[in-house]
Amino acid sequence: MDFRRWTGVRFVSRAPTRSGGEIDLRVTKMAPAHVLWWQSHVQPIIDEDPTRVDNDWNWVLLAPLTRLFGLATAKRPVGYTVGIAGHDTGHFIPCALVLLLGRDRALDNHRKRSAFTWYLTTAPDAVLLSIEDYQLKEDRLPKRLGTIALDVSVTHSLNRVARGRVSLHSDTKGGERLLSWYENRGMEVLPEGQKLPAGPRRLFKPSDGHYCYYTIDAALTASRELDSLR
């Protein structure tokens, strides 16, 4: 019997590497030190790539704004940072950021609760390979960072009241490719025009066929898939 719905689920603590090994990760609550380092070292490289959907994101602004929006609407905002735990140097190298609303309405059943992933980003390899204070070799680069970042939302949802349900809006800039990426991770796509739960999102981001969500079963399956890394 799977007790995942009853007991807490650990966040991922390792990631596979290119060499076939593993590297230690740590999932922690997002802190100003992480955001500042990201905005000063990672975001400039991301901004050089106009094809990335996180191009032009300003985390120094996004983190407090998400908190404010979440608090104002009583949606329990929370931010997580996924980073490499450099036990040898004592450094923590942020390699993914996730901002989510812990208590939102589910897209497929408006009476049920769901987490809503508002912002999710991962560091490009080039950044991780060029950190002055931490020399990371190419064969030690963590893989599956996107999947791990998405799992952070699922784990948060499982550990809180939403039973694994997670929804998000796949940025239209990412087109079908990004949408397919979410589908390949087991998410359902909300058909275009299907009514969204009541709230500001109806005004600002209408149902455009880019909203995705995890049902409870799909979330449990996705969560189980990463069990070997917890």
């Binding site: 966040f11 104002a72 609407t73």
Partner: protein, 115 residues
């Protein structure tokens, strides 16, 4: 251009009659009072905030890179503790009592006794 704090304070003054110079009262209004107001009022506040802050993905954000932010240390990244039970005792009991919805023991007991 007004700073974020000024905009937040002005909206609290407009919608909540809070003294905009009293930032603690402004914060309290956003944390405690705003969530209790009607949904339409909350939408109005958010709408106004979005309008004034330009909070839109389509426009992008001002590029600003802080200088020389040091690499965080492990001390600045404590692991998130594992909760003993998903969502705590209250939710645990709620889920347990709701199992009949999914055809659990309570439901089977009900069917058995109805026969």
């Amino acid at each position: 251009m007004p700073t974020q704090t000024q905009v937040f304070a002005e909206l609290a003054a407009t919608f909540g009659g809070v003294d905009p110079s009293d930032l603690e009262a402004v914060q309290h209004w956003y944390d405690e009072t705003l969530p209790t107001l009607p949904a339409s009022t909350i939408e109005d506040v958010l709408n106004e905030l979005v309008k004034r802050e330009g909070f839109s993905n389509d426009d992008g954000y001002a590029r600003a890179y802080p200088d020389k932010a040091p690499l965080p240390t492990l001390d600045q990244a404590p692991p998130v503790p594992l909760p003993l039970l998903a969502a705590g005792w209250r939710e645990f009991l709620r889920r347990l009592l709701r199992r009949h919805e999914a055809g659990g023991p309570a439901d089977r007991w009900k069917v058995k006794n109805e026969k």
